[in-house]
């Protein structure tokens, strides 16, 4: 085992040697630096490995042959080895990345860089407070050195401000050290830990000064303007080091000083941390400059880590897991992003679209962004989950709210940035040249992130149960992305079918229904994918990612598994949605609502976990603590997915702009995930003793209003897919309402609607999507008369709208009939009437959908379009078969559903007498009605056919209008603004109050952040004042005036 002193020795030795050897050229000295860094990394790795696997014990290294207090001692323990390994590894990779830029600045820069890395190692290992001060100075000077060596005004000014700031910080630390020595006669940290400085008169001030210095090093909000300028002005390679290595070292310094500062400091560290986390991310949302934005994010993440440190006594044994998970995610992802920003060279966020010209970099960027936000399977996901659970369990709800709020703010700007990268215009930007030595470190970081993800999930006792097989399949599809569509599509379908075969015997009936909707529905919509040509890059992996998430929430046994699946699904669906042509803003708002909803779920799971011994999902059935809040949060979280009114504004754009086969995936299938969640929650509420009827009552009204507003908005859409999207909002409103009734009939209605909506919305979205592929527009008024060209599509839409409208004899009527009975029995008359009125509005938009597209006058440019692709028609007609079976034999579906619901709602069931269904109020025989109507229809049709058998078909314009035969279809197709008269009567109800509300919220945050961030004036003196104010205010708060 090489002793850790060699880390210092190598750094210093090679540093001095370069002074002599520089005549061999900068390539040589550069290689020497890398070799030194590699050796240093090796030493730390060796220690890390030994300590981790128990072959080594924590070891003190003494210098100069004496023991403390007469000499400096270094400690290499488990945490030290990790921190040192992290610093050296990023130092080595950063050295490779910056090889050319360091070379360009000369061998001096190479030396300074090496010394910087070495000094940070000492910061971690030293147990002598004065030595710590010295190396803090060395680090500051070295950082300033590498920054100032870059010849630009911006970096010059940033470096100067940095020197000023670090000067103040060092002075404070030095003052503390002087007093400490005066009081105790020792400078050894281990001694401080032993003697409790607080007991000395003035000891509190000593600790205050030392703590201040350690905290200020971490750039606490708002005394961090200098740090932001540093991130913005420095070479991205240096920023990566500052963010990854320097922050790790500084955090370690804080950790060491906290060890003797006393427990009362924990709270303040956490407080400063959370203010930094929330404040930084708040300002981050108005940044347009990439590196500055990443700076805000870095500072925010360090703030979050400070919160973890502050709570270390509360978190107990879990502290290392949480801290490490967050730190490693930040460390790898942020370094990767800074390095990417050095290659992409796009200052403005919008210019990041150029990254699409390097698709693999886009993948890397996505990996880093999702890791930062804490999506699965990254370590930060598990850390955040544990952190929130433990904080809730110990009653720190306010902290949980603040942490989730800060994370939400961070997600806003990171996903906005990612959205620009994926979607904004890039034809005007030139592709960047990429050197191999710059991209390799980024790849290593990303691969390490995935490696650690696997490692973290293994080390968490609850996450071992997570089923990673679907995720592995997704990864396989990523790797096979170069293959043509038909191979990937077949592979996906086979994979899903096989998985369904494996899983379905393990599921109860209720879960099976949703699994069928998710997986069988997924397979059907994937069939449509055969219509696409080429490789369709990225599509299959992200689609399967969504389906993997969906099946994971079905199979989940613990809240962790559920949340894991939920986030996977969110990620997958986000990627699916953002693939649409004009989807950038819609994908962002989808993501924001999804993350908000997910955090509500997370908080609820945290609350439900209080007093429980495990993470069993069934525990939401007996929540003992704040149960109403927990249920409200769960419902809120799931309502973001069902797009209930107020939380719906993402849906029309997201579904409307998505690709033709994606719309049915995210509408007919994905929305049912929210329904599934609600079903779980309401079953839990039903079984629990808590008072839930008010919550259910409110949910009922919400569902009814959602149904009304969704359907009303659908009436006035000109875009076919948006019309269907609004219709989905309305339909999901019905389902939410029916679930909220909490009766047997109500739930039967809800399940009937869920199944029906899955079928007819998939039919409609697939068919309309296929039509859009042929005619190239979503705008209905640009189509017309397509029945002549697309009879297959017309029949599908016809069946779809009859089923949706609820007109007998098709299956939609089953839902309507159940609805009347359920509403009457429950006594929710007004809500019910709103629902029925919404059903009436559905006629308006359904007629509009079929009429403006298929009937009326054919447009000149569509005279030669073909019928929809056979690949779209196949799933559509399979689903039509499903609707027909349900229509002819509703008892085949409703009876098993009723049996399934009986354990939850034993009273008020539907009674069956052969094909007749009875309630206490009404009766209906779906089969008989179907037969009667069909026979009648055929008789009338037969008579008419006999009497008009010689009729021939007229040409398009064989009508008279305004005294002549029209010859321009545009003037005779009544399509645009069809319901203008209706609009005149109901316009007050169509004011988009919700959208305005969210606009207002967005503006409030944006303007608020824009205004307050002016404190960062860029003036060095102002920044120094901030630091002083920060110290004074903290002093007043902590020590008292």
């Amino acid at each position: 085992m090489v002793t850790p002193i060699y880390i210092v020795a190598t750094g210093l030795g090679v540093g001095f040697a370069i002074g002599i050897l520089k005549k061999f050229g900068k390539n040589f000295t550069g290689a020497l630096v890398l070799a030194a860094l590699a050796f240093m990394t090796f030493i730390s790795f060796q220690w890390f490995y030994g300590l981790h696997y128990g072959s080594e014990v924590a070891t003190y290294v003494y210098t100069a042959g004496f023991k403390p207090p007469f000499s400096i001692n270094l400690l290499m323990g488990q945490y030290e080895s990790i921190a040192s390994l992290m610093i050296n590894a990023i130092g080595l990779l950063g050295g490779i990345y910056m090889f050319n830029s360091l070379k360009a600045r000369g061998s001096d820069a190479q030396v300074v860089y090496l010394i910087l890395i070495m000094a940070m190692n000492v910061l971690v290992m030293t147990r002598d407070i004065f030595n710590l001060f010295v190396f803090l100075e060395i680090v500051s000077i070295a950082i300033a050195g590498v920054i100032l060596l870059e010849k630009s005004d911006r970096s010059m000014s940033a470096g100067f401000k940095y020197i000023l700031a670090s000067g103040i910080i060092s002075t404070i630390l030095l003052l503390g050290i002087v007093f400490a020595y005066y009081l105790t006669g020792t400078l050894n940290i281990d001694d401080f830990v032993g003697i409790s400085l607080n007991t000395y008169k003035g000891g509190g001030l000593v600790i205050f000064l030392m703590m201040m210095a350690a905290i200020l090093e971490l750039k606490p909000f708002p005394a961090n303007g200098w740090g932001l300028d540093l991130y913005e002005g420095a070479d991205p390679g240096i920023s990566a080091i500052i963010s990854g290595a320097s922050a790790t070292a500084s955090l370690f310094v804080l950790y060491k000083i906290m060890a003797f500062a006393g427990a009362e400091w924990n709270y303040y560290v956490a407080l400063i941390g959370i203010i930094t986390f929330v404040g930084s991310n708040f300002f981050g949302i108005v940044q347009e400059n990439t590196r500055r934005m990443l700076g805000y994010s870095s500072i925010g993440q360090i703030g979050l880590l400070m919160v973890v440190l502050g709570f270390k006594d509360v978190l107990g044994d879990s502290t290392p897991f949480i801290l490490f998970g967050l730190l490693i995610s930040h460390y790898l992802a942020k370094a990767g992003l800074f390095w990417l920003s050095g290659i992409i060279k796009a200052k403005d966020l919008k210019e990041w679209s150029v990254i699409r010209k390097h698709p693999y970099f886009l993948f890397l960027m996505g990996t880093f962004v999702f890791a930062l936000i804490g999506f699965p399977p990254f370590p930060s996901f598990f850390s955040k989950f544990n952190f929130v659970l433990l904080l809730t369990e110990t009653g720190n709800i306010a902290w949980v709210i603040a942490i989730l709020a800060g994370s939400m703010l961070e997600a806003i700007y990171l996903f906005r940035w990612f959205g620009y990268a994926v979607k904004s215009e890039n034809s005007h930007i030139e592709k960047n040249k990429v050197c191999l030595h710059k991209s390799i470190p980024i790849w290593i970081m990303a691969l390490a992130l995935y490696g650690f993800s696997y490692y973290t999930s293994l080390s968490n006792p609850w996450s071992i149960a997570i089923n990673f097989i679907p995720l592995a399949f997704v990864a396989l599809l990523f790797v096979l992305d170069f293959l043509p569509v038909y191979i990937k599509n077949s592979l996906s379908i086979l994979g899903m079918a096989y998985y369904f075969y494996l899983v379905y015997p393990q599921l109860d009936n209720m879960r099976l229904i949703f699994e069928v909707i998710f997986i069988v529905g997924g397979i059907l919509t994937l069939i449509a994918g055969f219509a696409y040509k080429g490789t369709r890059p990225g599509f299959h992996a992200v689609a399967l990612l969504m389906f993997a998430g969906l099946t994971a929430i079905i199979e989940a046994k613990t809240t962790l598994e559920f949340f894991f699946g939920w986030e996977l699904m969110t990620a997958g669906s986000y990627f699916l949605i953002i693939r649409g042509k004009r989807s950038m803003t819609h994908a962002l708002s989808y993501m924001m609502f999804s993350i908000g909803g997910a955090y509500a779920l997370l908080a609820a799971f945290g609350i439900s976990n209080v007093g429980q011994i495990n993470l069993d999902l069934n525990q939401i059935g007996h929540i003992s603590y704040l149960s109403t809040w927990a249920y409200a949060l769960l419902i809120l979280g799931f309502l973001t997915k069902t797009a209930s009114v107020g939380l719906h504004i993402w849906l029309p754009g997201a579904h409307g702009e998505a690709e033709s086969d994606v719309s049915p995936m995210v509408s007919a299938i994905l929305l049912k995930a929210g329904v599934f969640g609600l079903v779980l929650t309401l079953i839990a509420m039903n079984g629990s003793d808590s008072q839930w009827s008010n919550l259910a009552y409110a949910l009922g009204w919400l569902g009814a209003i959602t149904a009304l507003s969704g359907n009303l908005m659908a009436v006035f859409q000109e875009d076919a897919k948006r019309l269907l999207a609004y219709s989905s909002i309305g339909q999901l409103g019905y389902i939410v309402f029916a679930l909220a009734m909490m009766t047997h009939l109500g739930w039967l209605t809800a399940f009937t609607y869920s199944i029906n909506h899955f079928m007819y919305k998939a039919i409609l979205f697939l068919t309309i999507g296929a039509v859009v592929l042929r005619v190239g527009t979503h705008d209905m008024y640009k189509m017309g008369g397509l029945i002549a060209r697309m009879p297959m599509a017309f029949i599908a839409v016809l069946i779809g709208i009859i089923a949706l409208s609820g007109v007998p004899p098709l299956s939609g009527f089953a839902g309507k009939w159940l609805f009347y009975n359920a509403v009457m029995e429950k006594g929710w008359y007004f809500q019910g009437i709103i629902i029925f009125f919404s059903g009436g509005l559905a006629f308006l938009y359904l007629w509009r959908l079929i009429h403006t597209i298929f009937l009326g006058q054919l447009k000149d440019n569509h005279r030669n379009v073909k019928d929809i692709s056979i690949w779209f028609a196949i799933p559509v007609y399979i689903l039509i078969g499903g609707i027909m079976v349900f229509s002819v034999r509703p008892d085949w579906v409703l009876q098993p559903l009723g049996n399934m619901l009986s354990p939850f709602f034993p009273t008020g069931q539907l009674n069956w007498d052969h094909s007749y269904a009875y309630t206490t109020l009404g009766y209906w025989s779906g089969t008989n009605v179907f037969i009667t109507i069909v026979i009648l229809f055929l008789i009338v049709f037969g008579i008419l056919a006999l009497s008009t058998r010689k009729a021939h078909k007229l040409k398009q314009f064989d009508i008279t209008y305004s005294g002549e035969k029209p010859f321009r279809p545009e003037t005779t197709h009544v399509a645009w603004n069809v319901f203008a008269g209706f609009y005149k009567a109901v316009w007050p109800a169509t004011i988009p109050l919700v959208a305005k509300f969210w606009d207002y919220v967005t503006d409030f945050f944006h303007d608020g952040a824009g205004f307050t961030r002016r404190i960062y004036s860029g003036n060095g003196q102002a920044y120094m004042m901030h630091i002083l104010y920060f110290i004074i205010i903290t002093y007043i708060v902590i020590i008292g005036g």
């Binding site: 409208s805 007004f830 009437i833 009125f837 009937l855 009326g856 209906w924 009667t932 009648l936 229809f937």
Partner: protein, 302 residues
Amino acid sequence: MSIYYKLGYTLLGLLIVLNWGMLMSAIFRKIVARVGGRYGIPYYQPWIDLIKNLGIRTTLSHGIMFYLGPVFRFTGAVGLFLFMPVLFGNEAWANFSFQGDLVLILYFQLFGMLGMALGAGEGGHPHSAIGISRGLAQHAAIELPMTMGIIALAIQYQTLSISDIVAAQQGSVLNWSIFTNPIAGVTILLAALGAMGHSPFNLVKAPNEIPIGPPTEYHSTFLGILMSSGAILHVMEAVLFMNLLFGGASNWFEMILKTFLIYFYSVFVGVVYPRFRIEQSVAWFFKIPLLLGIIAILMYSF
């Protein structure tokens, strides 16, 4: 009763209803003419029209949906008759109402409407589409107070079965829903004005301005079928209101008298009030009828 007897009765009933409907439409046109100072058509005019229309050779069609429009319409009208208990306490004239309740009737009304709207749409005439868009908008507005009134009755009688609702009104005239539940009754009757489609709610067909709206392109046999459907529908709508509000009917005479009065209530309103524009008509249903509907429901909510 065997199914053949049943079918025989049903066919006979249908014939009665059809002819009664045609006579009612003739009387309607006569009244409107007399109010307007004209002499009007002879009472047998609808039969002449029907025979003429069915007699003309039909050689033209705009396509399959155009063709199916009248089929939907006629099926809708006859289906409504089949699922409605026309005479109370008489198994033969209860038709096939055992297959479904009030909810079936409410939704099956839309069957013919939807088919007709689509068929007319394929005709490609702008007047058809204009008429349909107005018709759908107005229908949505009518449905709100109508549903409220019907729900109020269903709450009152705790059933969704029309036969049971009629049964509950037997015994005395004062047992009729219009007297036992006057607010719901008035709500339904106001909504019924719209459902009957006479002035002021006749912008859908707007006989003079957009030549008969949706059916513009229909001719000969098609038109004949549509006329017959219209006759049946008018009677069946009146029967629905009769069953809900006026104690039903136990014989054909009572049924004819009551439906006559219900139908002509809307005709008389029509000749007095001029036509609404569509936004006026929609807004009208959202005012007094809606308010009454809310009161009708509120009475059962506490």
